[in-house]
């Protein structure tokens, strides 16, 4: 619970902006100018 609250605070101050955007778009990735599904890419 404490950890979740800490994350909420960090998100609210914009600390994790990039991760949030990434999480919103987990279905699609931009790879070398290709717009593909995450499943198209080998596990990193």
């Amino acid at each position: 619970m404490l950890r979740r609250n800490f994350l909420k605070i960090m998100i609210s101050i914009g600390f994790f902006t990039n991760i949030i955007i990434f999480k919103k778009n987990t279905k699609y990735l931009k790879v070398n100018n290709w717009l593909v599904k995450k499943n198209d890419v080998n596990d990193i």
Binding site: Y28, V31, W34, L35, K37
Partner: protein, 468 residues
């Protein structure tokens, strides 16, 4: 001789208007002034001295001084404007039209008949794709194709019905300042240099989206009153339809077979998507290249190398084109250079034109949205130009195709302080001067303008049916 109507310019607007007027009342006395003739495009001798060239110049080649106007050289693409094009959007500087789409829909079938179109222009959905299109706020749309020279052929016998004066350039109004009415118009014969004056009860400017504005700008300072430019918008807010090749795609199945006419499918973002993303209207073309000789094998190789996990067979490759509505940017404008005149003494035009961040934002978001849909529908995958994905980059000039849809410089508004013509296309400040041209469009949408010009011409002819 005092004519009932004097029409200046024999393009789609002028010819449609005259045709309907004659059908309404065959006794009406009409004169038509045209800078070209049936055979010769006089623009060839005229344009080099009339315009300045720039790197991005939406002018020269897409015009013609010829009976039938630009439709002698056009591609014939037709589509009415969308519902949302008529609505005001202050967040993107879109004034909206002074009426709703219903007002032009009244002339939809009549315009289709003139342009010999079959499409019903209803947004349609392939049932298999309906869900994914909905998920991405996309609509599949229809364009239809009219014919080159359709107007010059259809109306070639007008000479038997009206007086036509070819090779004639109009350059000056004479105005009765007590009655705010145009009395005469002065013209010059291109071949003989002879001047001639025409008298008429009504004057209709149908010179096209550039020459109409040029004519008014040249006349603006000749009178004590400000008849044309009380709003200070004359020449301001020029817009075109920038066309960009934004990327390529590989297809996993033949998703173009739904379109039997050509290997192109057309899409647009719905109104909700436009609002949520603060973008203008736009349309997307997915152009299939099915001839194996033209297949982009480098693209296929690139895809297979990067994504070996994807085992789908690649059917064909293709290109993605996005056509954007343009932000009404006051910096985009036409003005006159009074120190640099053509051989008839008419000042040359000066252009200031650029594609701004709202236009680019529209093109970028539209490109990404269609690419996501391609992936989600499993129709294929898209590779976009780097400048689409990186907002810090300028667009590749080689991806850009200027289009020559000249709009917005004599805008329509009910408020004389915001536009040049009212909703009946009458010039604010004059009792008998009218404009039919894409220059009156308050916003240009993402459809080619000729269909709307034809609808406006029919509507104005209808308007006169009630007052003459």
């Amino acid at each position: 001789m005092i004519y009932d109507f004097l029409i200046i310019g024999a393009g789609a607007a002028g010819l449609t208007f005259i045709d309907k007027l004659i059908k309404t009342n065959p006794k009406i006395k009409i004169a038509l002034i045209e800078a070209g003739n049936h055979k010769t495009d006089n623009l060839k001798d005229y344009k080099e001295i009339a315009y300045q060239k720039k790197k991005i110049n939406p002018v020269d080649e897409r015009r013609a001084f010829l009976f039938g106007g630009t439709t002698n050289i056009w591609g014939g693409f037709c589509r009415p404007l969308d519902y949302e094009d008529f609505i005001s959007r202050p967040d993107i500087n879109k004034n909206g039209w002074p009426f709703k789409i219903d007002e032009l829909d009244k002339y939809l079938n009549e315009a289709k008949k003139i342009l010999e179109l079959k499409a019903n222009f209803d947004n349609k959905f392939n049932p298999v794709e309906k869900k994914t299109l909905n998920d991405f706020d996309l609509q599949e749309i229809d364009f239809d194709y009219s014919n080159r020279k359709i107007f010059s052929k259809k109306y070639k016998n007008f000479e038997n019905k009206i007086d036509i004066f070819f090779n004639t350039i109009a350059y000056k109004f004479n105005i009765d300042e007590n009655n705010n009415a145009i009395k005469t118009i002065e013209t010059i014969d291109i071949k003989s240099n002879k001047k001639k004056i025409f008298y008429s009860k009504h004057f209709i400017l149908t010179l096209g989206g550039l020459e109409t504005t040029r004519f008014l700008l040249n006349n603006e300072k000749k009178y004590k009153k400000n008849y044309f430019n009380q709003s200070n918008t004359l020449g301001i807010g020029f817009n075109d339809h920038p066309h960009f090749y934004v990327g390529k795609f590989v297809s996993f199945k033949d998703f173009h077979k739904t379109n039997k006419i050509k290997d192109v499918r057309y899409f647009k973002n719905n109104y909700k998507f436009q609002i949520e993303n603060k973008i203008l209207n736009s349309s997307t073309r997915l152009i299939a290249i099915k001839n194996p000789l033209d297949t982009d094998y480098e693209l296929i190789k690139d895809f297979k190398n990067l994504f070996p996990k994807v085992k789908n067979k690649i059917n064909y490759t293709g290109r993605i084109m996005v056509v954007s509505e343009q932000f009404s940017d006051p910096k985009n404008k036409i003005s006159l250079n009074f120190n640099n005149k053509d051989k008839f003494g008419i000042p040359k035009m000066k252009f200031e034109y650029e594609i701004n961040t709202f236009d680019l934002n529209t093109i970028r978001k539209t490109s990404i949205n269609i690419s996501k849909w391609l992936a989600e529908s499993e129709n294929g995958r898209a590779k976009l130009s780097e400048w689409i994905l990186n907002e810090n980059l300028e667009p590749n000039i080689s991806d850009y195709i200027w289009y020559g849809h000249h709009m917005g410089t004599t805008r329509m508004s009910e408020n004389p302080n915001k536009g040049v013509v009212d909703q009946n296309l009458k010039i604010h400040g004059l009792n008998n001067g009218y404009i039919i041209s894409s220059s009156v469009f308050p916003s240009g949408g993402a459809s080619n303008p000729t269909f709307t010009i034809v609808q406006l011409s029919l509507r104005l002819a209808d308007y006169f049916k009630n007052i003459i």
